[in-house]
């Protein structure tokens, strides 16, 4: 019995050894397989491109932010979230239209989520707050809407690509148009009291006065304005027109009170594009009809590219596209064109920014766009009149200024020597 046990023991030992050998062998093979397979996978599929996106999704500017996001989502759906052979992964954050929050969220996107690229934001104040941080982190970022003049003038950033416009850009030609075509001589301006308002009014006033017009009164209403009565009461009825810049809730209320004060139909209303932009136009009534504004886009723009965009946007979101929606559809198209041109290589960020500035995406809803030497788009400016067509209000384009630069007809060097538009 004892001998048998001895043999059994040696057998058990040897079988243990073979088991161990087999196990080690299997381990070695599987490790080798993993390595080979891993190499094959990494050669085949690159990790997704992460795009960080910032817009206000809560608070007073949430609707504008939502439109911007919708435009981007629409384009990403069109291309199936793929570009340059890689998947596009979108990470959205709410900046609440507060600069400090925007900065915190940008830090989160860049430092925690490790995004390759950034896009978005609405307000100039957030745009200015982000710029130094974006520069320090060297992350390419597209600003589709932020229109603060100096971002492409006196305080340019190497890492920020603006695909939108400057606040004064559509208003330079509009000032001349108001004088020569609309035959206006004396205008009162009323606008929201912040940088966007000053730059819009400033641009209009510069060319309008240069042609020979005069500004009767310059009225600034606080951003939190709730009642326009005191402002409207002070407007002289002798002026040829009132120039207005409002957006969102303030635009709706201004239009309504303009009519209540008997000004509608008596003193023509003109203004900056956002005042009658499609983000508020469907909520307006007949009081808006006849208002003439200038912008680089109109939802009613009669081009094949825009008709297609407006139709798909309407089918997807059940409303007309606003300029905010178009801005990030175009901005998204630009970003994707850049990724395609770079062959999906967004890791070389310095090269990618150069590519982004060099690409020329075609068939944009707003018309042809190219960059000037300062990184701001040269694009068409449309003069639009609010009309009711098929029961719906729209911004009918009545005149087009082709290829308008942020400097209009002025020499950039001379232009930049003058101070930024202020109140």
């Amino acid at each position: 019995m004892s001998g048998a046990t001895g043999t059994n023991a040696t057998e058990a030992q040897s079988s243990q050894r073979t088991l161990l050998q087999m196990f080690l062998c299997a381990l070695g093979v599987s490790v080798a397989l993993f390595v080979v397979a891993g190499a094959a996978i990494s050669a085949q599929a690159k990790p997704p491109i992460k795009v960080g996106f910032l817009v206000p999704l809560s608070g007073a500017n949430a609707q504008n932010g939502r439109d911007i996001l919708n435009g981007f989502l629409l384009y990403l759906e069109e291309i199936g979230y793929r570009a340059g052979g890689r998947e596009i992964q979108l990470i959205v954050e709410d900046d609440e239209a507060i600069p400090a929050v925007g900065l915190t969220k940008a830090r989160k996107l860049i430092e925690r989520d490790q995004v390759h690229l950034m896009a978005g934001t609405l307000l100039s104040s957030t745009g200015y707050a982000l710029a130094p941080y974006i520069d320090s982190m060297k992350i390419p970022m597209v600003y589709p809407v932020v229109s603060a003049d100096d971002l492409t003038q006196r305080r340019r950033s190497p890492w920020i690509v603006r695909t939108g416009y400057t606040g004064s850009q559509p208003n330079h030609p509009f000032g001349e148009y108001a004088y020569h075509t609309l035959k206006l001589r004396k205008v009162t301006t009323i606008a929201l009291d912040y940088a966007f308002g000053w730059e819009s009014v400033g641009g209009f006033e510069r060319t309008f006065v240069a042609e020979g017009g005069t500004i009767d009164q310059r009225i600034w209403a606080p951003v939190s304005v709730h009642d326009f009565a005191p402002y409207l009461a002070s407007i002289s009825r002798d002026v040829d027109a009132v120039y207005a810049l409002f957006l969102g809730r303030t635009a709706l209320q201004f239009m309504r009170q303009y009519e209540e004060y008997g000004l509608h139909g008596r003193v023509p209303l003109i203004g900056a594009g956002p005042t009658t932009d499609e983000h508020v136009l469907p909520a307006m009534g007949d009081e808006a009809i006849g208002t003439i504004t200038a912008l680089h886009y109109s939802g009613a723009l009669d081009t094949p590219a825009n008709k297609k965009f407006a139709a798909t946007y309407r089918a997807r979101y059940k409303k007309v596209p606003s300029y905010y929606a178009e801005s990030m559809y175009t901005g998204g198209k630009w970003l994707i064109a850049g990724i395609e041109a770079a062959g999906g290589n967004v890791e070389d960020r310095a090269a990618f920014v150069q590519t982004l500035r060099a690409v020329k995406p075609m068939d944009l809803p707003r018309g042809p766009v190219e960059f000037d030497d300062y990184g701001n788009p040269i694009e068409n400016v449309y003069i639009r009149r609010v009309e009711r067509v098929n029961g719906e209000l729209q911004n009918t384009v009545i005149h087009t200024f082709p290829r308008v630069s942020q400097f209009w007809k002025y020499n950039p060097a001379d232009y930049l020597k003058q101070p930024l538009y202020s109140r």
């Binding site: 999704l57 809560s58 959205v92 954050e93 709410d94 507060i98 600069p99 400090a100 900065l103 915190t104 969220k105 830090r107 989160k108 430092e111 925690r112 100039s124 104040s125 200015y128 707050a129 710029a131 130094p132 941080y133 603060a148 009291d193 912040y194 940088a195 951003v223 202020s422 109140r423």
Partner: protein, 314 residues
């Protein structure tokens, strides 16, 4: 000594030790994003503690405290970007701007109590916000001022980066916190508590209650200014939103949520709010709703603040 042991009874001591270790040793193990959030929490904690001096210890509810903080931040921004002054001048300028301003405003607000104090500080806060918004040549208006040099470079420190900045902020926090802790335990601080409990009685005991309230307001303003200076360097920019009512009421929430008159409570409140805001919003677009529910539950479950939880009997 008796008061201190009472303040740290039960679960509070272990929690405090864990928090302390986390604040001291945590950052090198964290990614820069989390270090950034901790830095924000630490800077805002100084501000929340300074409001606690007023709200918790003196019983003066200020709804304009963020304005003092903002003025100090603007002080740094204006001195460093418009006049390119040196680091210590900017720091001193920022702290002085906020402190002198509260010394001035204190003359107006320290005569009133309760809801009147709330209203008048709210109004003065709005005036200062309006000034930052409208004094465009100096403040840049709505666009704010950006381009404040980084603290490490401006101060000529041999190290830089988020972790270095964090430890600078932590140092300022520790020094300010210690000073405030000494203050509230001093006879002066106890007098403030007495005024909070019954001002007529303190007056009849011969205390100059007006002077105590005034000094409390100025000291709170001075610590708020310290916080504002660090905040300006942290964000490298300032804007009117630092001074607005939303900022002041969020600060109010930090103190009430954490537990007034504890100093540590507001620190916890600041940390909880900074972390909740940023963590929840990363996961859902409905984060405001969740935040609202959390606040309501916290106030219902701990009406005296988180740090005073289960201290009902004392």
């Amino acid at each position: 000594m008796a008061e201190r042991s009472e303040a740290l009874q039960g679960w509070r001591l272990p929690v405090l030790v864990v928090l302390g270790v986390l604040l001291l040793a945590g950052p090198p193990l964290l990614t820069s994003y989390w270090v950034g959030l901790l830095t924000q929490a630490v800077i805002l904690a100084i501000l929340a503690m300074s409001l606690d001096l007023l709200l918790g210890y003196t019983g003066l509810p200020s709804l304009g405290h963020a304005a003092i903080f903002g003025v100090a931040a603007y002080g740094v921004a204006v001195l460093s970007t418009r006049y390119q002054l040196g680091f210590w001048t900017c720091v001193a300028g920022g702290i002085l701007a906020g402190t002198l301003l509260s010394a001035l405003l204190g003359l107006i607000v320290s005569h009133v109590r309760d809801v009147y104090f709330l209203m008048i500080t709210l109004a003065l806060g709005m005036v200062l916000w309006g000034l930052s918004y409208r004094w465009i040549p100096m403040t840049g208006g709505d666009n704010g001022l950006s381009g404040i040099p980084s603290l490490e470079a401006h101060a000529g420190l041999p190290f830089s980066g988020p972790i270095a900045f964090y430890y600078v902020a932590l140092f300022v926090f520790a020094v300010s916190g210690a000073l405030m802790a000494v203050l509230v335990r001093s006879p002066f601080g106890l007098t403030l508590c007495g005024i909070r409990e019954s001002e007529p009685r303190m007056r009849s005991l011969g205390y100059n209650t007006w002077l105590h309230c005034y000094l409390s307001y100025v000291l709170a303003g001075a610590f708020a200014s310290v916080s504002g200076v660090v905040w300006a360097y942290y964000n490298s920019f300032v804007s009117p939103t630092y001074l607005d009512l939303t900022a002041s009421s969020e600060l109010f929430l930090m103190v009430t949520l954490g537990g007034p008159a504890t100093l540590i409570g507001p620190v916890v409140g600041a940390g909880v709010i900074v972390l909740l805001k940023n963590v929840i919003s990363a996961y859902t677009a409905r984060w405001l709703l969740i935040l609202g529910i959390v606040y309501i539950v916290a106030i219902l479950a701990a009406p005296k603040g988180l740090w005073n939880l289960r201290r009902g009997r004392s």
